[in-house]
């Protein structure tokens, strides 16, 4: 780790100014990923602009019935918030499926969105990685890639995004608020906050240099809709997702047909993966297990597995079908058979 300067910002503007004044600097909030990457030599900031004490740690009601989550709200506080638990249990579940109690006490909402991939090649500066060092190559493509992406990857990068929270936010149609300066704020859909690697895997998100996440807006929950988050992993706790699914399902109480379905996969792609094809096919349909399976397969048919990660397709299909069946109160089709 190289020496770096440290600035504790007392306002957003001060933070943005400090960022501009220190080329090569990084914003620091909880630091659970950034400090980790600095120790690995993956991140080598010249300065850390500490935004953890900015007044961005509130959860407030929005006039439309939604919630505003400040960027520095800690993951554990967000998961424990009674409004979140009552209105967005999906989000609480996803948060609690991630990391450990002590990490969730420190990790922030904004930082969770900005965490970097856990690809082993990305984390090892002695090896090629286009995300870390553009142009150096992707070692994972032919290498160890059991945990890597089957959707949305490019020839330059097959890393997955590791966040569980972001998967729930994508399914909830959340928006990310960005501050770029006194006259420069914008919001971005959570589902499109992370970008696909294409030719520039070094850019994980659409965030511009110097921009700061100030919060996340959750739209009002759909009345009557039910939701579910489920994650499969290599051990019972404290492990990244092999695959996960977040589903919001709204059924017409009259005829039982799907009025609206929002489905996002985690662990499959460089970003939380909204299954738009599945959603489109299910909307207006009766959630019969065969219909659900066909709709899920229509999305997963786009997958391009590599040598050792094709299991993710089956896993994702099982997770999605089981989740929808649970929410719809139907029996799932027999899982795990081709």
């Amino acid at each position: 780790m190289k020496p770096f300067a440290y600035v504790r910002a007392t306002s957003l503007r001060e933070a943005a100014d400090a960022y501009a004044a220190h080329p090569g600097s990084r914003y620091l909030a909880g630091g659970t990923n950034l400090v980790d990457l600095m120790k690995l030599g993956v991140e080598t900031p010249t300065a850390l602009i500490d935004i953890s004490r900015l007044p961005l740690d509130g959860i407030t009601e929005l006039p439309d019935g939604g919630l505003h989550i400040g960027a520095t709200v800690r993951n554990s506080d967000l998961a424990a918030d009674p409004r979140v638990r009552a209105r967005y249990p999906l989000l609480a579940r996803a948060l609690l499926a991630g990391a450990s109690g002590q990490l969730r006490n420190v990790a922030t909402t904004g930082g969770n969105l900005l965490q970097r991939t856990r690809c082993g090649y990305f984390q090892d500066p002695s090896k090629p990685c286009n995300k870390r060092e553009p142009g150096s190559g992707c070692a994972a493509r032919e290498g160890i890639h059991r945990d890597h992406a089957v959707l949305g990857q490019s020839e330059h990068c097959i890393a997955t995004h590791p966040s569980d929270m972001a998967v729930a936010l994508a399914a909830l149609d959340a928006e990310v608020e960005l501050y770029g300066g006194p006259d420069s704020s914008r919001t971005v859909e959570a589902a499109h906050f992370h970008r696909l690697p294409a030719d520039h895997p070094e850019q994980d998100t659409v965030i511009r240099p110097g921009e700061i996440i100030t919060g996340v807006r959750l739209p009002a929950p759909v009345p009557g809709a039910r939701s579910l988050h489920r994650k499969a992993r290599d051990r019972a706790s404290y492990a990244f997702a092999l695959a996960s699914v977040a589903v919001v399902l709204d059924l017409d109480p009259e005829d039982g047909r799907v009025r609206r379905c929002a489905l996002a996969f985690g662990g499959l792609a460089p970003r939380p993966w909204r299954a738009t094809e599945t959603e489109a096919r299910l909307t207006g349909a009766a959630p019969h297990p065969d219909t659900v399976r066909a709709a899920v397969d229509a999305e997963l048919d786009r997958a391009q597995p590599l040598r050792d990660n094709a299991y993710k397709i089956l896993l994702a299909r099982n997770l999605a079908c089981a989740a929808i069946a649970t929410l719809a109160g139907t029996r799932p089709g027999a899982p795990a058979t081709p």
Partner: protein, 712 residues
């Protein structure tokens, strides 16, 4: 038997056999127990090693300019200027002596600075040039480099054959011919390897605090490497944060720390980063198994063949003795147990908890389960039917063998009902499995001293190392009973190479080896006190013991501990996730000297076996040559949520052919067979036989996606 091996008179005992809490418990829960990196001599500096980033080749240049220019950097040791070392039996300790790179992660430099941050930054700033050569890190069947070694770890012959196992197998009415695979595994004790070394040039004395499993051997090796008389080297290890075999002999960190303190004239701590351990402190080598079992329809085994393929490094031959338990377990006349090894460009494997038995019994006990399936027989009964009267390989009688009793007792406690059909609870498939365990009795000579003080207290000195086993506690109990005094009258001093030489905490032999010496020293002191009249002199009275004669006697018995594991698992058909619901072990390991610490030992082994079965996987990256899983996020040690109700029980075993305490050693048997029991339970639950560990969701899901074709 020598007179000293008569077992302690149980009637007179106050302490042994009782659940005394560990004596250092308070220090550990208050954070005052200090480990090797936590010694703070004045002017201490920090060393940070630089690992090689090629898998095979040599260093062509080391540019230290940028590193040395950083503030607080004291030195960068390289292959070109590091101190020249004396000889060592272990070539992995010949660090920075030449430019060859035998595997990725081999140390090629050491940065030393006055702060931890400075040392890390300096190590990162060292620029190393390499000339890379092609490498090969992939073990496979048919690898052209495979050869049969002379012997395997533990000094066993690599190849043993009795009768004609091929003909017997061909003639067997019921046969299984199956292959299993166990990946490389890492010890990953919670305390990473660390040493604080302090060379006092004025006194000409080297003091080293080392995270190790025995200071005697560390002192001997360091004295040899640094060409010092042994009495100029003191190695201390009062508290050690686990080892599981990876600290049995000196590892690179301690050699580097001593090099650095000699170079810099200041105390130096080298605490290895977790990510370095996979390459530098040993691992359990991967093993590929082929097991062939032939049996009569009544279950009587007629042929057993266990062939093991494994890897070693190009630095040192270490051969995981995984076929050896086939020489111990079952009555079968025609058998072959054999090992072949390939030397690859891999880190050097070494001991990990029950080397040999752990992967070997996974394969053998899984195959026995498959045979029980093929026979339509209760796997407990199959094992009972083939329980031998004498050790199959040697023909020697067992000093004691209560495997059948362990199986019966375990079956009763677990509620084992033989060939119980699997249950289904919604998406969950539930099943139970059983497997046997075995581990040999080892013992090595040790010395100890006992000292009676005029105030009625006693000091017992033995160079044991308590790596968490409870050695400090149980040795104090042995001393108290041998002296015939209450436990609190005894102070035990350990973890100091200045005490008489002892073997390491390894091979489940610590308590037997150290304990015998403690027993003899205390018995000798008791005799001396009995002959003494009047008050003790101010200096007290002392006695010492050396068990070289008694411990080296070759007994006419085969001596092994045995056990049985029972597991109930659930497999999720949606995700392929397997979770253990219950794990129960029953062990026959001689006399249990402290039920509290023994239970923790057994359960700890079982939990590590659970990890081996379900979560722990390491693999060599063919392109780069290193282990892909190098940290604790990627290498999945089981977490609390993985570990359900685990029970350990034992059979009261009285074996007079062991040592004065009558114990067999319990540190390793808990892991042996645990993975097989869990794997067998998964087979019962799912109707599919998975033969490659660990049983992760991807593999289970793939197996479940193949239609169930009935018993496999």
């Amino acid at each position: 038997m020598s007179p000293t091996t008569a077992t302690l008179d149980t009637a007179a005992q106050a302490s042994l056999g009782t659940p005394v809490p560990r004596l250092e418990a308070r220090d550990k829960v208050t954070g005052t127990a200090r480990y090797a990196a936590e010694q703070n001599p004045p002017r201490r500096a920090y060393g940070w090693p630089v690992p090689a980033t090629i898998a095979h080749g040599r260093v062509t240049a080391v540019d230290t300019t940028a590193a040395l220019a950083l503030p607080g950097v004291l030195a960068v040791l390289t292959p070109y200027d590091a101190p020249r070392l004396g000889p060592s039996d272990d070539p992995t300790l010949q660090l920075l002596q030449d430019t060859r790179v035998p595997h990725r992660g081999w140390y090629v430099a050491l940065a030393v600075a006055d702060t931890l941050e400075g040392a890390r930054a300096a190590a990162e700033a060292v620029r190393v040039g390499y000339e890379a050569e092609p490498h090969d890190v992939t073990l496979r069947e048919g690898h052209p480099g495979l050869y049969t070694p002379e012997e395997v770890n533990g000094g066993y012959p690599a190849h043993r054959e009795h009768g004609d196992p091929d003909a017997a197998f061909a003639a067997a009415p019921v046969r299984v011919d199956v292959r299993y695979s166990v990946p490389p595994l890492h010890n990953h004790a919670m305390e990473p390897h660390a040493a604080t070394a302090d060379w006092d040039a004025g006194r000409g004395h080297l003091t080293v605090y080392d995270s190790c499993q025995g200071t005697t051997v560390v002192r001997t090796v360091l004295a040899g490497l640094f060409r010092l008389p042994e009495d100029r080297v003191t190695v201390l290890a009062e508290h050690v944060g686990g080892g599981f075999g990876s600290k049995s002999t000196p590892r690179p960190h301690v050699v580097l720390a001593v090099m650095a303190t000699r170079r810099c004239g200041r105390p130096v701590t080298v605490a290895l980063p977790r990510q370095h351990l996979a390459a530098c402190v040993g691992h359990r080598a991967p093993t590929l198994h082929r097991v062939r079992l032939g049996a009569r329809p009544d279950g009587t085994l007629t042929s057993l063949t266990h062939e093991v393929l494994t890897h070693t490094s190009r630095v040192r031959e270490f051969v995981e003795q995984a076929a050896v338990p086939g020489r111990v377990m079952y009555a079968v006349r025609d058998s072959r147990t054999t090992h072949r090894v390939a030397a690859l460009d891999v880190p050097t494997p070494s001991w990990m908890r029950a080397p040999g038995e752990t992967p070997g019994m996974y394969a053998l006990e899984s195959a026995m389960d498959e045979l029980a399936d093929a026979l339509g027989m209760d796997p407990v009964e199959l094992r009972v039917r083939n329980d031998p009267a004498t050790e199959p390989d040697s023909g020697r009688p067992f000093s004691s063998r209560h495997l059948v009793e362990c199986l019966r007792e375990g079956a009763t406690r677990f509620g084992w009902t033989g060939h119980r059909p699997p249950l289904r609870e919604g998406p969950l498939l539930i099943g139970s499995g059983v497997a046997a365990a075995t581990y040999p009795v080892y013992i090595a000579p040790a010395g100890a001293r006992a000292h009676a003080r005029p105030d009625g207290s006693y000091l017992v000195e033995v160079n044991a190392t308590d790596i968490g086993t409870g050695a400090r506690t149980v040795l104090s109990q042995i001393a108290a009973d041998a002296l015939g005094v209450p436990l609190d009258a005894v102070t035990l001093s350990l973890g100091n190479s200045a005490l008489p030489p002892t073997p390491v905490a390894g091979g489940s032999a610590g308590t037997a080896s150290w304990g015998w010496a403690v027993h003899d020293a205390c018995t000798a002191l008791t005799d001396r006190l009995a002959r003494h009249h009047g008050p003790l002199p101010d200096a007290g009275l002392s006695a010492s013991a050396d068990t070289t004669q008694s411990a080296k006697q070759k007994p006419p018995y085969a001596r092994h501990a045995f056990g049985a594991h029972f597991a109930e698992v659930q497999a999720d058909t949606v995700t392929g996730e397997v979770r253990v619901r219950r794990l129960l072990g029953v062990f026959a390991a001689g006399r249990i000297l402290n039920p509290r610490t023994a239970r923790s030992q057994f359960i700890g082994g079982m939990v590590m076996g659970l990890g081996m079965a379900l979560t722990e996987h390491s693999g060599l990256d063919p392109a780069f040559g290193d282990f892909a899983e190098r940290d604790l996020a990627a290498y999945h040690v089981p977490v609390n949520a993985d570990v359900p109700a685990v029970e350990a029980h034992w059979i009261d075993e009285h074996d007079k052919h062991l040592n004065p305490m009558g114990g067999k050693g319990i540190g390793e048997i808990g892991i042996v067979g645990a993975a097989a029991a869990i794997g067998n339970a998964v087979s019962r639950a799912t109707g599919r036989r998975l033969r490659e560990l660990p049983l992760t969701p991807d593999r289970v899901l793939a197996a479940l996606s193949v239609p169930d074709t009935g018993p496999v």
